[in-house]
């Protein structure tokens, strides 16, 4: 029975962080990597053991809670440091630890040349620890601790190469924008606690169901605030500007934080507090709409990017958009399934891109790469597997199954269902286009640059494992209409934690039809990419040359002008106000008073002329004044 060792899972990475941050400087790269990678590895091992004992001998009601210590207790407010394990958090833990371990292994070699080696692993361990806390938290305050912890680590890691000020600026931008979302989440916490009296997630949901009227003001506001937090962390529409800039960090960081784990924290939050969202239908629809809008917007932006990592960043935003659509329509397990598959293939793509960048000595612009197919075959094939999975190549890739599930549940989602499905399909088309645009430009065509370094063994193993997972990963949730026994294993496994989909499952034949449409769309996308970017690139150049093309290209490149908007409306005025008020307008008032006093001093001291007759005159004047007051003012 490994369940009691649940606390080890988050504790190990934190221990790694402590060791590395305190002794980091004195350890060489070898031992630092050993500690860094080892701690996450051990944690993954424990996670797997825990998972196995959870599956073989499930604890009562498929839930295991472990309270470590009484964190705060003031009157009715008593959030404890409590770990809560159910099938949902188990999957999250597994993904985080396994993918985390692979990325740590990869970065052991990738960051070898960097001088801040131990510092890097310290931050990465801290991140994994915080993510595990977030995922395992039993009450919202402990979740909030993990939530802010991951935000902090994303700041530290984005700004890891601190020598260039742009990295610093990107890191601060990331932390501040996510902090806006966190503040909304915090206010949500206040509201929940004040009105329900507890922050424990399960009890909070029961009480809400009991006392709150579905659709009423309180649940709507609470859900909206939680959504605000989710949008901030998962870089959805209004607050997505920070993710593309976050690519300034090292590539393993982008892989782990900005693709696999942290950005999906919002998805986990909404999934975890699903009761609240079902009680606020307006907000749930909003989630779907935001998801749809985001996937379209970032899909188009990804089409025109030059930097390999920015393309993948926009693709991440778009894929999370899919998850939000799933959550919006109530297909909770579909969202988590897509999260898992996305974690695999997006991590793979990032690590592949990392290998390419390392090979070309830090080159990010895809138009200066080309023909790497022959120079880095291993990286190429793994990258290709990831790309196919991303663009949901039918039947053979995990992406197809997870995205298909979302598309079908979107179709069934009542009135708005059709529009959501239409947006999702358009998104799928865009996805396959920009993915294979990337593949053709980077790996096909004539070689523009020589490869200086091939990914070593410690980098290759993760690539291969991830490639296998992103291909085979989908079979765990085989669609039902094929009638194979044991299909939809993943969703059934999650049923214990998440309520079944709100809308009825589609009839087998419509399901089949939808899958077919999705397959056709993804293949079409690949052909379009092949036509425009490999066989006759002059067409794409000509299209880009047209007037609307040029405008659209620049508009999409600038992420639909969100950055410009925030800079002009928020950042610039704040900076201006701070600069003008540097020496404190209120202070001028007090220095004015001081001047008045001095003015009176000089005035009065002139009256001390030193002449005795003047003094006599003042005495006489004083006498006159006193007499008039005494006599006339009685």
């Amino acid at each position: 029975m490994m369940l009691p060792y649940l606390w080890l899972i988050p504790a190990l990475p934190f221990a790694g962080f402590l060791v590395l941050s305190v002794l980091g400087r004195r350890m060489g790269n070898g031992p630092a990597a050993a500690v860094g990678v080892g701690s996450v590895g051990l944690s993954a091992l424990v996670a797997i053991l825990v998972a196995s004992s959870f599956i073989n001998a499930p604890p009562p009601a498929h839930v295991y809670t472990q309270t470590l210590w009484r964190w705060i207790s003031v009157g009715g407010f008593a959030p404890g440091v409590m770990l809560y394990l159910d099938s949902l958090s188990l999957i999250m833990v597994l993904v985080v630890t396994v993918v985390g371990f692979l990325i740590h292994l990869y970065s052991a070699e990738f960051m070898a040349a960097d001088d801040g080696y131990s510092r890097f692993f310290a931050y990465m361990n801290l991140f994994v620890g915080s993510m595990l806390v977030l995922v395992l938290a039993g009450n919202l305050l402990f979740l909030y601790l993990g939530w802010e912890g991951v935000g902090l680590c994303s700041y530290l890691l984005i700004g890891f190469w601190y020598r260039e000020p742009e990295n610093g600026a990107a890191a601060i931008k990331a932390f501040v924008v996510t902090r806006v979302g966190d503040t909304a989440l915090a206010i949500g916490l206040f509201l929940i606690f004040i009105n329900l009296g507890t922050l424990d997630i399960q009890r909070m949901m029961n009480l809400a169901a009991l006392h709150w009227r579905p659709g009423g003001a309180l649940p709507t506001i609470a859900a909206a605030l939680l959504l605000g937090g989710a949008i901030g962390k998962s870089a959805q529409l209004p607050l997505q500007t920070w993710l593309p800039d976050a690519m300034a960090g090292p590539t393993p960081v982008s892989a782990l934080i900005h693709a696999a784990t942290m950005v999906t924290a919002g998805v986990y939050l909404i999934a975890r507090t699903n009761v609240l969202f079902t009680m606020a239908p307006a907000v749930q629809i909003a989630v779907a709409v935001i998801g749809a809008a985001t996937l379209l917007v970032s899909g188009m932006s990804a089409l025109v990017q030059h930097d390999i990592k920015r393309v993948l960043a926009y693709s991440t935003i778009s894929q999370i958009g899919y998850m939000f659509v799933a959550l919006g329509v109530g297909a909770w397990s579909a969202a988590i399934f897509h999260f898992m598959t996305h974690a695999f293939f997006k991590a793979l793509l990032f690590l592949g891109a990392g290998a390419v960048i390392a090979g070309l000595g830090g080159e990010h612009d895809i138009f200066r790469m080309g023909g790497l197919r022959r120079q880095m075959p291993l990286a190429f094939w793994c990258f290709l597997a990831g790309a196919c999975s991303l663009s949901a190549l039918p039947l053979v890739t995990a992406g197809f199954y997870s995205k298909g599930l979302i598309l079908s549940s979107a179709w069934e989602a009542g009135r708005a269902g059709f529009w959501l499905w239409a947006a999702a399909i358009a998104g799928a088309l865009l996805t396959s286009i920009y993915t294979f645009r990337l593949v053709f430009i980077v790996f096909f065509g004539e070689a523009k640059a020589k490869i200086s370094k091939k990914p070593g063994p410690r980098a290759a193993i993760p690539l291969v494992i991830l490639a296998f997972l992103s291909v085979a990963g989908g079979f765990v949730n085989f669609p039902a209409f094929f009638g194979i026994k044991g299909s939809m294993f993943f969703s059934r496994f999650l049923a214990s934690a998440l309520p079944s989909a709100t809308y009825a499952a589609p009839l087998p034949e419509t399901d089949l039809l939808l899958e077919a449409v999705a397959a056709i769309v993804s293949l079409a996308g690949i052909y379009v990419a092949y036509f425009f970017f490999l066989s006759s690139p002059e067409y794409s150049r000509e299209m880009a040359g047209t007037a609307i093309g040029k405008v659209l290209k620049r508009f999409w490149f600038e992420d639909w002008g969100f950055d410009w908007l925030y800079e002009k409306t928020l950042a610039a005025p704040y900076r201006w106000l701070a600069r003008t008020n540097r020496n404190d307008a209120v202070d001028l008032f007090y220095s004015f008073i001081a001047k008045v006093n001095m003015f009176f001093h000089y005035g009065l001291s002139l009256s001390q002329t030193g002449k005795v007759r003047f003094y006599a005159a003042v005495i006489a004047l004083g006498a006159v004044v006193t007499i008039t007051i005494a006599v006339f003012a009685r």
Binding site: N597, H601, S605, Q608, Y615, I619, I627, A630, V631, R634
Partner: protein, 501 residues
């Protein structure tokens, strides 16, 4: 004048005999030490005789004087202050190149005048006491005749004092013309009977008298002479003027209005309020950026009199306690402050310029400590008698809801902090290097003395004259003792109140 009357008058008699005794003594052997010793002895004996006279206490000796606890308390204060001034001036006079025996005679005469003033219950004794004090001050102020500033101070004080005495006299004459009697009790009785308080002539006369009081207390419209006289006069005499002459007159002022509630004479209360506010602001604002220490102390004494009038305008039991306690605290502080200036002064000019005090804490830490203590007490910082005094004044004001006056007092004490602390921090800031040896270049316009001006307070930590040092020590200890544990003095003051009410 029965035997008991004479015994009751013993302190006055003794203080009057001692100047004559000193005069006779110096007539035979002309020695400064002898004069000083005799003067101190005289003061001591008259101080000791006070409790003896207290046994005969509440008795009015001839219509002119009334000897009661209140009068004896203030006589004690006057004698003690004069004793301190005499001790302080001992070291000071040794430096002056002027015959210094007469100084003690004049000082004793001034003390006698103040004693009479405090005990007076009649216009005649009030006038004579006041004039004895003033005339002896004329000579004391310009005692170092070789200093031009002293003469200027003397002339100014004489002319202005004479003018204000004339105003005072005319006021008295009018009151006498109206009421037919010159005793305070008689006048009060006359004024109480019928609506005399609103009688314009009576109020006008009181206003004229107020001019005389105003000059002596150096409150706002009549304060012009204070800075020049304090700066010109020798430091111990400035101390005497700042404390004894003001304190005695204020004691009489308080007794004169003790039984009569000031607020029945609406317009006079208004006049006093205006005077109080004006002197608070004038005193503090004038001293703000002043660079001459004696002038700072002069201006701050104007401000403090403004605070005293606030307490005077209050009503109820707290009033007399507040005024008496504040006067004692004010006496100690002013004597201490001027004592320090005396001790640091050189033969050719007093230690006036603030630049001279720069870095004093490094050279002479004890003196700097005492001076900071005195200045903190003026500012009303805890651990000093000034703090308790200021607290009492605000308490008296709050007791009778004089919110306007108190808030002005609060604002002014904030302004006051600026220049008190400015002097302190100059003492504690590092001395500029080149001024290290010429410790206190006196800024007097006196043509440079024949020999290089050897400074009494040279950098080598010259010895502090024994008398001055002793006085400063006693004053500092008294200040802290009153600041921390004021109860004994408060019980003494309560005894004096019974006799007054």
């Amino acid at each position: 004048m029965s035997g008991a009357d004479l015994l009751a008058l013993l302190p006055l008699i003794l203080i009057s005999i001692s100047p004559v005794a000193v005069m006779l003594a110096i007539a035979f052997f002309r020695g400064r030490g002898l004069a000083a010793a005799l003067a101190l002895l005289g003061l001591f004996i008259s101080f000791v005789s006070l409790p003896f006279a207290a046994s005969y206490a509440p008795r009015s000796v001839t219509p002119l004087l009334v000897i009661d606890n209140y009068a004896l308390f203030y006589m004690g204060l006057v004698f003690a202050a004069t004793f301190a001034v005499a001790l302080l001036s001992d070291g000071y006079l040794r430096m002056l190149r002027v015959r210094s025996e007469e100084f003690y005679v004049l000082l004793l005469l001034a003390a006698a005048g103040s004693a009479v003033l405090v005990a007076s219950a009649h216009f005649a004794s009030f006038f004579l006491g006041l004039e004895t004090l003033s005339v002896s001050l004329y000579a004391l102020l310009s005692y170092p005749v070789t200093r031009e500033k002293a003469i200027e101070a003397g002339v100014k004080y004489l002319v202005l004092a004479a003018i204000s005495s004339a105003f005072l006299l005319f006021g008295m004459a009018l009151v006498y013309a109206l009421s037919g009697t010159m005793e305070f009790s008689g006048i009060a009785a006359w004024a109480a009977a019928g609506i005399k308080y609103s009688n314009p002539v009576f109020l006008g006369a009181l206003a004229l008298i107020a001019v005389g009081f105003g000059f002596k207390l150096a409150v706002a419209p009549f304060h012009m002479w204070t800075p020049d006289v304090y700066e010109g006069a020798p430091a111990p005499v400035s101390a005497f003027v700042a404390t004894v002459s003001k304190g005695a007159v204020f004691a009489l002022f308080l007794r004169y209005f003790a039984r009569v509630d000031i607020h029945t004479m609406g317009s006079l209360a208004l006049a006093l309020t205006v005077i109080s506010i004006a002197s608070m602001f004038a005193g503090n604002l004038l001293a703000l950026l002043q660079n001459n220490v004696k002038r700072i102390l002069a201006y701050s004494s104007i401000a403090h009199l403004g605070y005293l009038i606030v307490a005077f305008l209050a009503s109820g039991a707290l009033r007399v306690t507040a005024v008496s306690f504040y006067l004692v605290a004010y006496f100690i502080t002013m004597l201490g402050a001027f004592g320090v200036v005396t001790v640091l002064s050189g033969p050719d000019g007093d230690a006036e310029d603030i630049e001279g005090y720069r870095g004093l804490a490094a050279r002479r830490p004890v003196i700097a400590g005492v001076f900071s203590l005195m200045l903190f007490s003026l500012a009303g910082i805890p651990l000093t008698a000034g703090f308790v005094g200021k607290f009492y004044i605000i308490a008296a004001g709050a007791g009778s809801a004089l919110w306007l006056l108190i808030s002005i007092l609060v604002i002014n004490s904030a302004i006051g902090i600026y220049y008190y602390v400015r002097v302190i921090i100059t003492m504690y800031s590092p001395a500029p290097v080149e001024a290290e040896e010429a410790a206190l270049p006196p800024k007097s316009t006196e043509p440079a003395g024949p020999a290089a001006p050897e400074q009494a307070a040279s950098a080598a930590g010259a010895i502090i004259p024994i008398g001055g040092g002793l006085v400063l020590a006693v004053l500092a200890i008294g200040l802290i003792w009153l600041g921390v544990y004021p109860s004994p003095l408060l019980s003494l003051i309560r005894k004096t109140i019974q006799s007054l009410m």
